[in-house]
Amino acid sequence: MPVEAVTLADTTTKELPLLVLWLFKAGLIYGGLLGTAALMTLAERKVSAWIQYRIGPNRVGPWGLLQPLADGVKFIFKEEVVPDGANPLMFRLAPILSAVPAMLAIAVIPFAGEVKIGDWSFGTLSIANLDISVLYVGALTGLSVYGVILGGWSSNSKYSLLGGLRASAQMISYELTLLLAVLSVVLMNGSLDLRAIAADQASTGMWNAIVQPVAFVLFVIAMFAETNRHPFDFAECEPELVGGFHTEYSSMKFALFFLGEYCAMVVMACLATTFFLGGGALPFIAELAWYVELPVFCAKASSFLFLFLWVRWTLPRFRYDQLMTLGWQVMLPLALVNLFVTGAVVALGWHPLLMPLLAIAVLVPFALLFGRPRPRSESLTHEGAAG
């Protein structure tokens, strides 16, 4: 338990004062998070360039590595506009509400076990070891919709309002699937604590990506929708809505929205790693030291982050009605059925590997039979759908 880890540790190990330790950890993890988010802005452009056979940013620093820094400086020096018609309070509040919850969720991610350097013990490599960290993450994910809807509404611009509305409807629709997928994992590993979930997977060697394939796929899809990323980026779908909910934003406030989005991506990647890939575990190796766990965790999370970029430059955007149909009529029922099956498997004490077999046996024929694009959608392609 966390308290014990700090206070009842081995007497030979030395500890830093608590406050110093906390601030140190907070600084470290914030630095990591914000650094990753900043690098993601660069990676986004670099990866897109590679996919499109271009070079990408390469002027600022070696290989363009200092580009994010230059962007940040540019944001700070930009003039800020608060439109006359906007609701001033909400307009200023929205970016903060968008950025802060996204950053806070990182606090409970267990990057690695207890850190020991020589005689010095630094506790586990996570800010807080809450035993209900899943609920904490769920609560903060739920908060993220406020920034978007408030930003869209308070701007008093038609584009912003539509973008905000679309985004909020989409986020709440997919949040259900996301939480239900997580619920299956919770049922499987029997804990609301992210550390325990990761540890359970590591000890049995059966990562949830294998024993909960349906939940894994649902989580990854919902993860894209929750962060408003392609192919679900209706909040800012440029050809229709200019910039969506942040059309009216500029300068640092605009930067905060972007910061929130990239932080949310990083958090989601970390969550997917913890829930489905066993955190910092490697297959067939039971106990790992923290300096192995941390790179493994980062590698797994990075692969998810790369997936975000890869998908963005590969898939076209959905239509809004397709998005709603997928969310409510495919993913939500599927998630509920998956919860059912998981509950039954746990109750009957069957081997968990039964679930992937079952999923393949049921879902593949089902998808082959019913998964063809319906003619109705084709006829609508050119008319477009109202949003």
Partner: protein
């Protein structure tokens, strides 16, 4: 455990601090111009007409309502999942209460009833974003009434008169001509 919540609080404070420091630094450094045109609402160069605070599509409310129902369901299911797992695995507080099978059935009943709600909304078409109406098909607008009859109408009138005068005999000829 409570120390960890304090950790979160400190973390939250640091995060808020970061955000506000950025905003404040930017507010000192950025240029401030007093040009009123820039403060108009952006609408691709058009003059915006009216507020954007309008009545929007009611389906957003429907989605939000269904969401609330399911979100509450999920909130109830989290403790259920824990108790169920503990009871069947034989660890934790729920061992020996014999609540496992009962909890499983109760949970299934709960989910099925809510699933029926989803099925109801689904069947009533509230989940379909593109609505289809079973109204009359689109008819192109009728030709405008004219003061003077058009050439086409005059021809028809003449033919009708011919028909009346000549009886049945000419019809076959006319059909041939039309063909």
């Amino acid at each position: 455990m409570y120390f960890d919540y304090l950790n979160v609080l400190i973390f939250c404070a640091v995060g808020l601090g970061f955000v506000f420091v950025n905003l404040i630094i930017a507010s000192f450094l950025r240029p401030k111009r007093k040009v009123t045109e820039g403060l108009e609402t952006y609408e691709c160069g058009e003059e915006p007409i009216g507020d954007a605070w309008i009545q929007f599509d009611i389906r957003y409310y429907t989605v939000a309502l269904v969401y609330v129902i399911f979100a509450v369901e999920i909130a109830f299911l989290f403790p259920w999942a824990i108790v169920l797992g503990e009871s069947f695995r034989g660890t934790g507080a729920a061992v020996g209460t014999g609540i496992g099978a009962f909890a499983l059935i109760e949970g299934i009943v709960f989910i099925v009833i809510l699933f029926l709600g989803l099925a109801y909304v689904w069947a009533k078409g509230d989940l379909d974003w593109v609505l289809s109406f079973s109204g009359p098909a689109y008819q192109p607008p009728q030709e405008r009434a004219r003061f003077l009859p058009s050439v086409h109408e005059l021809q028809e009138l003449a033919e009708a008169r011919n028909d009346e005068g000549d009886g049945e005999g000419d019809e076959a000829e006319e059909n041939e001509e039309a063909a």
